[in-house]
């Protein structure tokens, strides 16, 4: 005994006992500090804990008011829990393992808002890895929007500028009055010449000897005037044929114009898939993207099998002997979850169980499973299995819901066509498998009792299509949407088909065709009316011109006939001369 310093040993033993007692009371503070530091390092965002109570003797841990901030969205919590209570196994603790047979998390809530930012000061906010816009075929949305924009542009362009019949009619309206005027001027000139010749002849006949020369030339002058009159009459006689040719040209152009109008308003077929992507893209990619974020988070909680466990001391290598009871550092065999939250805008109560959750799955034979059921507006049954039996992690998720109430939806929020879908009921079935990083899965939603109200911008097209489209869309009362997932967790791809898209495409196509046909008919009728009116006006003007010109030309004809001694005859008598009369 002389070798031991009892004056050293005894106080230390007392000190150790006192330390154990102090640990029983105050270890909660250290555990709280450790949980916050370790949790923040792994999550990458603030972790707040109200209080931690621990008992080394009872190996029990109680955490109250836990809040884990979302590293991608610092003003939101990833999750909150009022109370986390875990009973750890004492023998496992003596073997450096945190193993709990049972734990309970109550007051669980997800995605709750925060009053202060949850970002760590020395770590930038990590945005979501995936751009959900790229999940869909990028051209599909543009294609549907392009179709609608093209439709709008077809109605907004004034096609009257391109109509040949209108152009011809306008050209006639300018050309023919000029022609009338030229004829009138020519007729007036002939009339004036005839009167002048008649006057000179009358004067000359009074004194024939003195006007012998004039009287000798009078037949030639009269013949010349008669030729001018006959030429004018001949030109006038051609006018009806010329006018008929112009009218025929206008009518032929009108037929071509009608064809042009119908071709202009002939619509391309609307691709149902593009419309589905355009309308449902945001509605589907949002929740699926959120689900994939949760899956990624779950992968962090249950990591893949490690090929080699690094030594705890950081020096050398830890060897594990065959036959030794090797346990994971952290394992919760059963963790009951109770909480509330909002899904799709609906308040839900959730109850579930996580089984065999460990951070070292290679040391535990059972896969981690989750069974969660929600009650309320969105009754869901969620089952997940995270299997790490092999080096390549394999996860599968099943989500089923029957009769869940979908809130009011707005489809196509960023485009020209928007649909408002009234609250409806739906059945949901989701199957997702992730093998390694490869994502594969499907999602099926069957909606019933659909009430869809379309909204178009209050422009030329919107005003016309609104009522027609509303009538077409009102016939759609149910839809089936199927989403196929592919790609990887970091770059997911999805393709979806929906009867809603197909039926909507048909309804929109029908409505647009009806409106386009009505518009074409209206434009054709309007063009026909305008051209007919123009032609009728021409006919009236021509008749008026003809009668006026006939009146103008009757006087010169009589004068010429009298001068030639052929009153009432249109053709001059050859051989008769003023001299014959003179010497009668």
């Amino acid at each position: 005994m002389k070798y031991f310093r009892f004056q050293y040993i005894l106080p230390r033993i007392v000190l150790i006992v006192a330390l154990l007692l102090a640990t029983e009371v105050g270890s909660g503070y250290f555990v709280r500090w450790g949980l916050i530091a370790g949790g923040e390092a792994s999550v990458g965002a603030k972790i707040e804990i109200g209080q931690v109570e621990t008992s080394l003797l009872k190996t029990r841990l109680l955490i109250t008011d836990l809040a884990v901030a979302n590293p991608s969205s610092p003003m939101k919590n990833l999750m909150e829990a009022d109370r986390v209570e875990i009973d750890f196994s004492s023998p496992a603790l003596l073997r450096k393992n945190l193993i709990a047979d049972y734990g309970i998390v109550s007051g669980l809530r997800f995605s709750t808002p925060r009053e202060t930012s949850g970002a760590l000061p020395d770590r930038p906010t990590s945005p979501e890895k995936t751009n959900q816009e790229n999940w869909l075929a990028p051209l599909a949305k543009e294609k549907a929007q392009g179709w609608l924009t093209d439709l709008e542009s077809r109605f907004s362009v004034d096609i009257r500028d391109q109509l040949e019949s209108v152009r011809l009619a306008e050209e006639m309206a300018q050309r023919w009055p000029v022609k009338y005027q030229q004829f009138e001027i020519a007729a007036r000139e002939i009339k004036a010449d005839a009167k002048r010749l008649e006057e000179r002849a009358r004067v000359a006949r009074k004194n024939p000897l003195r006007n012998m020369e004039f009287l000798a030339q009078l037949p030639q002058e009269t013949s010349k005037l008669r030729r001018s009159l006959r030429d004018l009459q001949a030109q006038l006689a051609q006018l009806p044929a010329e006018l008929a040719a112009d009218r025929d040209a206008v009518l032929a152009a009108r037929l071509q114009d009608e064809q042009l109008i119908r071709e202009h308003l002939e619509l391309d077929a609307l691709d149902a898939q593009s419309l589905t992507n355009y309308l449902l893209g945001e509605q589907i990619t949002g929740p699926v993207g959120e689900a994939i974020s949760w899956i990624r988070w779950a992968r962090q909680l249950v990591p893949a099998r490690g090929s080699k466990t690094p030594a705890a001391s950081g020096r050398g290598e830890d060897i594990f002997f065959p036959g030794s009871k090797r346990l994971p550092d952290f394992l919760v065999r059963t963790l009951r979850l109770e909480g509330a939250g909002r899904m799709g805008g609906q308040p839900v109560q959730l109850v579930g169980v996580v089984r065999d959750w460990t951070t070292q799955p290679e040391l535990h034979s059972q896969p981690t499973t989750l069974e969660l059921t929600t009650t309320g507006g969105m009754p869901l049954s969620i089952k997940a299995r995270l299997d790490r039996a092999t080096e390549v992690p394999y996860d599968e998720y099943f989500v089923d819901s029957s009769g869940m109430v979908l809130p009011k939806l707005k489809l196509g929020n960023q485009g020209p066509l928007r649909l408002s879908v009234a609250p409806s009921t739906a059945n949901l079935s989701v199957r997702i498998q992730i093998h390694g990083d490869r994502l594969r899965g499907s999602l099926q939603i069957t909606q019933r009792g659909l009430e869809i109200e379309p909204t178009l911008p209050p422009n030329l097209l919107g005003g016309r299509m609104q009522s027609v489209l509303a009538q077409s869309v009102s016939r759609i009362d149910q839809s089936q949407t199927e989403v196929t997932l592919g790609g990887t967790l970091d770059a997911p791809r999805m393709r979806f088909t929906s009867t809603l898209g197909t039926e909507l495409a048909q309804a929109i196509q029908q409505a647009a065709t009806d409106v386009a046909r009505a518009e074409a008919d209206r434009l054709v009728a309007q063009g026909r009316q305008e051209v007919d009116a123009q032609l009728a006006k021409f006919t009236g003007q021509f008749e008026k011109f003809q009668s006026k010109l006939a009146g103008e030309m009757a006087g010169p004809g009589e004068i010429i006939a009298s001068l030639l001694g052929q009153r009432g005859e249109g053709t001059p008598q050859i051989g008769r001369s003023p001299f014959g009369q003179l010497f009668k």
């Binding site: 002389k2 070798y3 031991f4 310093r5 050293y8 040993i9 230390r12 023998p91 003596l94 073997r95 450096k96 393992n97 030594a311 705890a312 001391s313 020096r315 050398g316 290598e317 830890d318 060897i319 594990f320 002997f321 065959p322 036959g323 030794s324 009871k325």
Partner: protein, 169 residues
């Protein structure tokens, strides 16, 4: 801060100036050597530390040795890892090590770590030469060095003797 930096030196002079026998000095130094070699954070290191403080040996010599060999120890990790790995992979010893590992507090002992057990083996291997050599040194050079140290003010300052003399005087 200065006191903290000079602490190892003071410990060394304190070891030389105490009235402990060369035997106590060399045993303390040897325990400290083993403690220094072994990685910390396991029950072996803790037990060695408790042993050093609990038995009647020179603690200062042990702490100096622990400090020195804690710096030297990582340099020998390559050798101790191979040594420990060879031992831990011996088929005949697997059951024994598995039994130790499965004991309560077994993983805290550190016998499953290659460097821990390798460095412990190496340290134990050099225990007697270390004890013998240090005993020889403390016996032969301890008293002259102690006299030389006390002769100078700096030596007295390092041992803390002048502070004691000032308060006594």
């Amino acid at each position: 801060m200065l006191s903290l930096l000079l602490h190892p030196l003071r410990q060394l002079f304190a070891a030389l100036l105490t009235n402990d026998s060369p035997n106590q000095l060399s045993i303390g130094f040897t325990i400290g050597m083993v403690l220094g070699f072994v990685p910390k954070g396991n029950l072996i290191a803790l037990s060695l530390a408790v042993l050093l403080c609990a038995v009647k040996v020179n603690r200062s010599a042990g702490l100096v040795a622990a400090a020195i060999f804690s710096c030297v120890g990582p340099w020998a990790d390559g050798l101790t890892h191979k040594l420990g790995s060879t031992l831990l992979h011996q088929p005949g010893l697997q059951g024994f090590f598995a039994w130790i590992y499965d004991l309560p507090l077994g993983p805290f002992i550190g016998f499953h770590n290659t460097v821990t057990i390798g460095s412990l083996l190496l340290a134990l291997y050099v225990t007697y030469p270390c004890y013998y050599g240090s005993h020889l040194l403390f016996e032969r050079y301890g008293p002259p060095v102690a006299r030389w140290v006390t002769r100078y003010r700096i030596g007295r300052a390092l041992t803390g003797a002048h502070f004691a003399a000032r308060f006594e005087g």
